[in-house]
């Protein structure tokens, strides 16, 4: 929560009380509604009026006019499409969005287990424990076609089946909430907006594979996520929805939070496991994979937050219901975070396979300042950069890699034509040099050299052969690095060389920046 928002919240609570409305009007601090750049926002139910960019000084007027007299304060509802008021749940606002993962975000009070239960919360867990065998649960997840939403897109049901088959006295479920990919903040907003969906999903996974213990590894920077998860765990335990003998089924499951300490590489599943074990978060050599030998050497399922948030609705509504969203190859939805040069920044959930063009122009409201689209980086800093010729490529886990990019975590960084390719490339490579853990040579040395070469080109000191060197070095890193970090670090640079090579060449051969913005 931003500092400005806290002031508005406190003012609203005080004003409602001052006006004696605190028995009729409940002020609820909810999860993210999506449109980050319109914040702070207030949503007034039952009708769903959305107030945007609210200042502390606006609060008395909203309370007096709307809450007391029933008149909407029209100057704060933004540019309404018609003469009326923007209603949050009207199609004009949500557009082509489909909300499965974000079903409760911005709708319920995330600190109330009752509100989660009122929206079918813990019903999927009850169904699994009382009506389904563990093997049936795995079969349903397999049939749904759900693949990992952290970026690697491994089939979730298959992953669970490895751990289910493993013979061990102890197994674990890990929720990977070490969201560090620049441009990504979906996991934070899911945890802040609907923490119980993660606990329920983890318990279902535990039942399916035979694990009675779960850990959520959350970034240390995510203060509010940690706080809300902690409350959610306490509430679930108090109602017997976590703990021993859940629903009298004999199945027990406990969840603990582990706080990260600032290391991008801990988002890699074995780095994360090392960190939970109290060590430096350096990835392990695979195989063995965590599914059979993970935390403390025991079979372990590691799933991303968004993957787990999909689990309860899939079990409750069935795999066929899930498959009606998205594409044949890649069913379901994807949560994207829109950032950079785009009018509507924030969080959206859309069917898998949507094109970049629809996301940017139908949901994102296009590029600000009348500028032209230049490129979009999909999947965060470890993803590729796509030029305008590829605006109509369907975005899913299988099609984007065919164009050298990746869907990754779902971060979309939009850049307009004012940006210099070399300057952006330097920013990307600086990131990887900093975040490489140093364990394996191709990544430790490779990320440093990639950054060094790009920085030289940016200073106007590039020489012929540099681009070929970047390409070759990148290829070596992709095949020889130990983990995804070193394998993905060359992806942005390789796609930039593929689609914007002439701009690099102008910097090297003519000592000139075609956009005139990088200061060469």
């Amino acid at each position: 929560m931003l500092e400005g928002c806290k002031g508005v919240r406190d003012a609203l609570i005080a004003e409602v009380k001052r006006r004696g409305l605190d028995r009729e009007v409940k002020v609820v601090e909810t999860g993210c509604l999506g449109p980050c750049d319109l914040g702070p926002v207030i949503l007034v139910y039952p009708e769903g009026t959305l107030y945007q960019k609210v200042r502390v000084s606006d609060v008395p007027e909203i309370v007096e006019q709307h809450l007391l007299k029933g008149r909407v304060v029209t100057r704060l509802v933004g540019e309404a499409p018609q003469a009326g008021v923007v209603k949050y749940e009207e199609p004009t606002y949500l557009g082509v969005q489909e909300r499965i993962v974000l079903r409760n975000c911005g709708v319920i009070d995330p600190e109330s287990i009752e509100e989660y239960i009122a929206r079918d919360g813990y019903r999927a867990l009850a169904k699994c424990l009382t009506e389904m065998k563990p093997a049936d649960v795995i079969e349903a997840v397999k049939k749904s076609g759900l693949v990992g939403r952290g970026g690697a897109a491994f089939p979730t049901g298959l992953k669970w089946s490895f751990t289910a088959k493993a013979d061990a006295d102890q197994k674990y479920i890990l929720c990977n909430a070490d969201e560090g990919e620049p441009g990504t903040f979906k996991d934070r907003l899911i945890l802040e907006g609907d923490p119980h969906s993660i606990l329920e999903g983890m318990a279902i996974a535990g039942y399916a594979v035979g694990a009675d213990k779960g850990f959520i590894y959350v970034r240390g920077e995510y203060v509010l996520s940690i706080e809300r998860l902690g409350k959610a765990i306490e509430q679930a335990k108090a109602l017997g929805l976590l703990g021993s003998n859940i629903f009298g089924s004999g199945f027990s499951f406990d969840v603990e939070i582990r706080k990260g300490a600032g290391a991008y590489v801990c988002g890699e599943e074995t780095g994360l496991i090392e960190s939970i074990e109290g060590k430096r978060g350096e990835p392990r050599i695979k195989p063995p994979y965590p599914g059979t030998e993970g935390l403390y050497g025991k079979p372990t399922v590691v799933n991303n937050v968004e993957t787990i948030a999909n689990i309860p609705p899939i079990l409750l509504n069935g795999p066929d219901w899930f498959r009606q969203f998205g594409t044949e190859r890649c069913p379901g939805t994807k949560v994207f975070t829109l950032t950079g040069d785009i009018n509507n920044k924030g969080l959206i959930e859309v069917p898998m396979g949507i094109t970049l063009r629809r996301v940017i122009y139908e949901i994102g409201g296009g590029i600000p300042g009348g500028r032209e689209f230049k490129m979009a980086q999909t999947g965060g800093t470890s993803g590729g950069c796509l030029p305008k010729e590829l605006l109509d490529v369907p975005m899913d886990y299988f099609t984007l890699p065919e164009h050298g990019s990746a869907l990754g975590s779902g971060a979309l960084l939009i850049m307009d034509d004012s940006h210099c390719i070399v300057d952006i490339a330097e920013c990307f490579m600086r990131f990887f040099e900093h975040e490489s853990c140093g364990k394996c040579t191709p990544c430790r040395e490779g990320t440093a050299r990639l950054h060094e070469i790009v920085a030289k080109i940016a200073r106007g000191e590039g020489k012929p052969g540099d681009l070929e060197l970047l390409d070759e070095l990148g290829s070596v890193m992709q095949v020889s690095s130990l983990c995804g970090l070193g394998q993905a670090a060359p992806v942005p640079i390789k796609t930039m060389l593929k689609y914007f090579r002439d701009e690099f060449e102008a910097h090297i051969n003519d000592r000139l920046c075609p956009t005139g913005t990088c200061g060469i």
Binding site: C36, D37, T184, A261, S275, E277
Partner: protein
């Protein structure tokens, strides 16, 4: 000049209390370091040695973990730590100008601490608030949609 605030370190009894909270389990090392740093402001050589002997693991191991993660510091820092994101989404929307404004306003370079021990200025990894980029974090408070003009106004709240 060394900053004065919170650099006095931590007494062995306090470390011992924190270790006991985690039943002296070596696998709780990251959590232990979080707690000790919260108490003392940073992880001093004395604290690291104390933790190592308490958990019966080598000092080198504790030091290795303490220096691996960016949220841990083995040096004293200012009372307020200003973490600035310069990752791609913030970079695209002008983080460089924010860095320059902060450096100018505080009179220290990135990585530095003011002579009164009040502010430390450092880069951070993505803060996950890219919807309101460019963004910074001052201790646990997040500020977004920044412009160079807003920087002095925000700092005034802390001075």
């Amino acid at each position: 000049m060394e900053p004065a605030a919170k650099s006095a370190g931590i007494c062995p009894a306090k470390v011992s209390e924190i270790l006991a909270k985690y039943s002296r389990r070596p696998d709780a090392l990251v959590s232990i370091l979080h707690d000790v740093q919260k108490e003392a402001g940073y992880l001093s050589e004395e604290a690291i040695t104390e933790i190592a002997s308490g958990l019966d693991i080598p000092v080198s191991k504790v030091y290795g973990v303490a220096t691996f993660y960016t949220l841990f510091s083995t040096k004293p820092k200012g009372q307020y730590i200003i973490r600035v994101c310069e990752n791609a989404p913030c970079h695209v929307l002008g983080a460089k100008a924010i860095v320059e404004a902060l450096e100018k306003e505080l009179g220290i370079p990135m990585g530095g601490t003011t002579s009164d021990g009040k502010f430390t200025l450092e880069y951070t990894s993505c803060l996950g608030v890219c919807g309101v980029a460019p963004a910074i974090m001052i201790n646990e408070a997040v500020y977004g949609n920044l412009t160079p003009e807003r920087v002095p106004l925000i700092l005034k709240e802390y001075k």
